[in-house]
Amino acid sequence: MRRVVAIVVVLVCLAAVIGFQGTREVNAAGDPRVFVPSPRFFERLAPSFRTTIADVYWLGAVQYYGEHVDGDRRLDSLPAMLDLVTTLSPHFIEPYLFSTFALVDAGEPQMAYDLLERGFKANPRDWRLPFQLGFMAYTYGPKETKAKAAAQWFAIAGKLPGSPPFVFRLAATLLAKGGEREKAALMWGQIYSQGDKYARAKAVAGLEAILPTEKQPREKALVPLYRTMPRSDFDALVADLVAGTTP
């Protein structure tokens, strides 16, 4: 009899535990205001574990973003979380890149820009940070200066190791768009001399768009490129460009 009672009690408790917990709404978004301690607190409290704490908060920030961005769209604590992660682990690149879109979603594009700038200061050899800064400058900057500002960031990114060739092309295009034709021409010259066949065609097309159409003014405009390119490349570029000019 005792055994039966014990089994019944165990089964009832088991059903209550599993039944209650199992029927809770697991996908419900949590409170958007999460307590995030100051980075200084962790720096002082656990210097040995600062990167680990940054990693844990990074996982938390990704979860937090995923939980709220498709739900209540409230990302109140995301800026503090990303600030904490990047302060505790300043060479961890991914959170800076993540902030580009996540903080914009949180309504903080300026903070995203500032965070990327901070990231670039800490990691001046990583081309992705100035590239994202260029993207942010072009997307959220003032209309009059955005092309020039973005071009400057893309030009910085294009000079860093590992950057794909299109970054420099993007900078040259935006410089031309921002009215900086001379700088754009120099940049296209670099693309021409360093690039493959495809890049050369792009450089010629880019220069065609910004150089004068008459032969003499065009040759004159190409003179500054002479000092920045190998002779053979310069001759080939001039040949490509002057061939289709009007005398």
Binding site: A46, S48, L59, H91
Partner: protein, 254 residues
């Protein structure tokens, strides 16, 4: 020397018989599950997460072995009365303490080597390239844990197993905060408080000084000469703790 070796070997066998090496299996399973889980939630940062959280797991699993086994080593001998048999032979109490420490040090070396190697290989598979710094970090965690074993053994000569374990864990935690104690000396006007903070800083083992976890994930570049000097400091600290343990044990009446 032979007597020291015999007691150390016996301690090693005894701890191994306690299925301590099972910790490696639990660690391995944890890492496999963690790598699968982290791969899906870290936005492609599973290699970094595995390195960082893996080293924390190595620290914590190692700490559990160091503290709980270290605290019970002497008490077990006393409870089982085997200590009388050993000490009736030409084995000094200090020799006994050092031998016990050596035995546990070898067990801990096996446990940490197993976990460190598994972490190294798992990370190699996930990241696609080996990270030898992981092995160096594991070796330095081992050094930290040797200090904790020595301190816990010293504490276990004057307290119960449980209290010695708790205090051992506390010393490990305090050792990570050693620099904070030093920074306390900068605050306040009272010379007495500043002096006290300095004493705390000196008494607590500075475990943080040989920590290279941030370097493993690319946050800093380790100064190996400085780390070697701090490793020497920790070695000396462990010896001091063992001498203290021997002295306390020599005064103990059964």
């Amino acid at each position: 020397m032979t007597r020291l070796y015999a007691v150390a070997l016996n301690t090693f066998k005894e701890t191994i018989r306690d299925r301590i090496l099972g910790v490696i299996v639990v660690f391995a399973l944890l890492m496999i599950v963690a790598s699968l889980w982290l791969g899906s939630i870290s936005l492609g940062q599973e290699a970094r997460m595995m390195k960082d959280l893996g080293l924390v797991a190595v620290s914590l699993f190692g700490l559990v072995v160091a503290v709980f086994v270290g605290a019970s080593l002497l008490h077990k001998e006393i409870e089982k009365r085997t200590v009388f048999v050993i000490l009736s032979k030409p084995v000094g109490r200090a020799q006994f303490i050092f031998a016990k420490f050596l035995g546990l040090a070898v067990t801990l070396a096996c446990v940490l080597a197993g976990m460190g190697l598994f972490l190294f290989l798992a990370d190699w598979i996930v990241a696609g390239s080996p990270a030898p710094l992981l092995l160096a970090a594991t070796a330095l965690i081992y050094l930290q844990l040797l200090v904790i074993v020595a301190v816990t053994m010293a504490l276990s000569t004057v307290t119960s197993t449980i209290l010695a374990s708790v205090l051992g864990i506390t010393v490990f935690a305090a050792g990570q905060l050693s620099r904070s104690a030093l920074s306390l000396t900068e605050f306040g006007q009272s010379a007495a408080m500043k002096g006290l903070a300095w004493v705390v800083y000196v008494v607590i083992p500075n475990l943080n000084a040989v920590d290279v976890k941030p370097a493993v994930v690319g946050e800093s570049s380790p100064d190996w000469a400085l780390i070697a000097a701090w490793a020497g400091y920790l070695g000396a600290y462990a010896v001091l703790a063992l001498v203290l343990a021997s002295w306390l044990f020599s005064r103990k009446e059964f």
